[in-house]
Symmetry: C2
Subunit: 479 residues, 2 copies
Amino acid sequence: MATKPSIPKGTRDFGPQEMLRRKYIFNTIEKVFQKYGYLPLETPAMENLETLLGKYGLEGDRLIFRVLKRGASLHESLLDPVMNNLVKDAKVTAPTLLLEEELAQVLRFGSFVEDVQQKAADGALRYDLTVPFARYVVQHQHELAFPFKRYQIQPVWRADRPQKGRYREFYQCDADVIGSTSLLNEVELVQLFDEVFTQLGLQVVIKINDRKVLSGIAAVCGQSEKVVDIVTAIDKLDKIGREKVEEEMRAKGVSDAAIQGIAPLFELKGTWKEQRPQLEKWLATSEVAQQGLKDLAFVFDTVGPLKSAALEFDPTLARGLDYYTGAIFEVKAEEGSLQSSICGGGRYDDLTGIFGLPNMSGVGISFGADRIHDVLLELNKFPEDLGSSTRLLFANFGEEEAKRCLQLLRKVRASGIAAELYPDTAKMARQFKYADAKAIPFVAIIGADELKQGIITVKDMKSGEQKAVKEDELIALIT
Amino acid sequence: MATKPSIPKGTRDFGPQEMLRRKYIFNTIEKVFQKYGYLPLETPAMENLETLLGKYGLEGDRLIFRVLKRGASLHESLLDPVMNNLVKDAKVTAPTLLLEEELAQVLRFGSFVEDVQQKAADGALRYDLTVPFARYVVQHQHELAFPFKRYQIQPVWRADRPQKGRYREFYQCDADVIGSTSLLNEVELVQLFDEVFTQLGLQVVIKINDRKVLSGIAAVCGQSEKVVDIVTAIDKLDKIGREKVEEEMRAKGVSDAAIQGIAPLFELKGTWKEQRPQLEKWLATSEVAQQGLKDLAFVFDTVGPLKSAALEFDPTLARGLDYYTGAIFEVKAEEGSLQSSICGGGRYDDLTGIFGLPNMSGVGISFGADRIHDVLLELNKFPEDLGSSTRLLFANFGEEEAKRCLQLLRKVRASGIAAELYPDTAKMARQFKYADAKAIPFVAIIGADELKQGIITVKDMKSGEQKAVKEDELIALIT
């Protein structure tokens, strides 16, 4: 194959520089997860297709990557069984011709296609981390200590149309608690957001809402049955403005009276402390809304001082309304040009019901590592030294010199310092270029002279200064 | 869905306990990779099918998991286009009947199936880390500083028949250098093996061979053209014994004279220092064998003292003969019941030639993390404290008490200690059970009495002892 190789659209290679930045983000998040008592979990990349189908809506089903059974080719896994069935049913011998009648049967899609699909493509790539988590909890319910707090940092795959910032393979970093209805979990997750972004040095705003408040709004407007339409429209306020939101509601059949009834939402001003009495008054007739407001108040009152995050109530926030039933979270960066959210989350009262374990309430959050990466990069917020790269390169002047270098290299590494010997006796310019490309701060030069005198010339690659030291001074010089 | 959910055959969930053990192994290996100057790389789970096909032999091709294009269902991606073609070609309207003639065309497999396959399943799951690495190097050749030292720790997928110790999804941990022919790379990789197993506390034997010696053996027996058959048979010596090896060679058409000529191999005894002169004499007429022996001697002479590994020459070692051209490595545990190897590796002179970049020599090694895990577990060699789990649990006695706990929790976490508050006001027995299940060493009890007196009762879960402390004594007590 002489054509230049490539990778599938929407996927990425992460070279060394990007990997170091990504590792910094993942490690930061992971350490905070651990500090808050979340335990690690990994699930397989492939799930059974039936585990995922029907969990993400119709559009989601279409975006699930399907894997052919047992890696067999289509020839074996799909067309051969089809042929065999045809041959069996039609009592003819393949690959001879079939009767028109059997053919008609074959060509009628529907159950036939379903059947083929089940047989041939019964694997599916993980679409998110939440459904596999729910599946895991149900499967291992008798071994787990509830409330079960787990974190999971793994890639997911979606057959979305690739575009800027949207990939077909991307990492999710999730933390969820399942088996506890306590609002202390919500409080803790807000604190966890704050701690992660404090460590990453990024100012953020954490938006919070409660699904019960949204239900209450629909109820007081007398349109409880239209709650999904109302909320879907309201959710777009940021992007399309109030007028278009109202237009959309009208198009969905929400009455003019109800649309007028929603007006106070758009006029809500101030901080949570100022908003709360307005909301209590407006939604006074809705018991569910009052409960939502009480729950929100608990989180605001209990969370305590935050370092890098402002916690704000946002009644238009509705992310993934399909399954959130209590708190809804969204985090946006207060700095940089990115407008979209960098984290999300919320509470879902019946996460594992779909797999036969009802009444398990869960609440969780998800960090968008790719977007956080882009924000930190734009703002130049990555630490200068991301670690894990070579600190000292021994230049290679030939066999004898290399032997001496190997002794020293062993010593340097034994003291925990990342170091290497240039493996070939190449021109100095090339060896320095290598050090530059890897951003190695020090180069040790041991030529014939140094060998004779028992010294090491160390070049500081940043300042360009050279210094001759003895063996027992080397480590101090480069640390 | 009320049926108990499951995962695809040959895949695994890794729960918290196993994750902590696996992380310990991965982190140990990764830190050593970094210390030796290897840089991280990650490639996508999905490669273009054509990138992988033909790289692993016929059997390998069959074991590659294929992914349907753009996640579309078979209906859309496979059957619809087929139907459309049929309809177009046959000038009939689907789903009405087709003419027998067109049908015959459809049912003839071969190029038609190929075509469908290309169109429908053009993605493939990563089968190993070496081919994606070669693809990456060729694609980014102008950005990389050679020699390029990279490590990669990612899962791979193989549609193998699952059995004990053989999975369809498993991690590989690879380190490779590409763009340097220096034997210092081989030396370094042996040292790297030694350092990893020293850190893991496992005694190993590193077996080394050189493909050139194998070629030389075939040559001196006058059977150069049968080198693959000879080596494939010799490779099985461990498992099937000398007699069966000779039988196999005979079956492959290796002459009796040649089989007799190979006899010295089986009679080779002693250490490398004792073996070397025997081999030099035996293979005196083969220039390539002499070069192989010289190269091996360089590695033995240069590697220096090893801590946890014995380096042994094994002329029957042939792993993956298909692409190794120089050194061949294999590591086995000297302790425990596992007979198979836990690491492998070798030099391949033309790794990137398949992607159009010739003459790039590479040498690399791969750690079998699953097997290393099983050996360490069997031998009880995991550290007792694998870190990253909660050190202190605050029991929850009610709203007032929880508020006090939250203040303390903040303080404990601020000092870097993993801690949590039980989120619900559950019975004490249940809260202690939770602490037990998570192996949390300390539980802080703040009930009404403690609240009044301003103290904290701390229970040591191992000894069962309880101690009342003041706020400023808490951290010292649990660290």
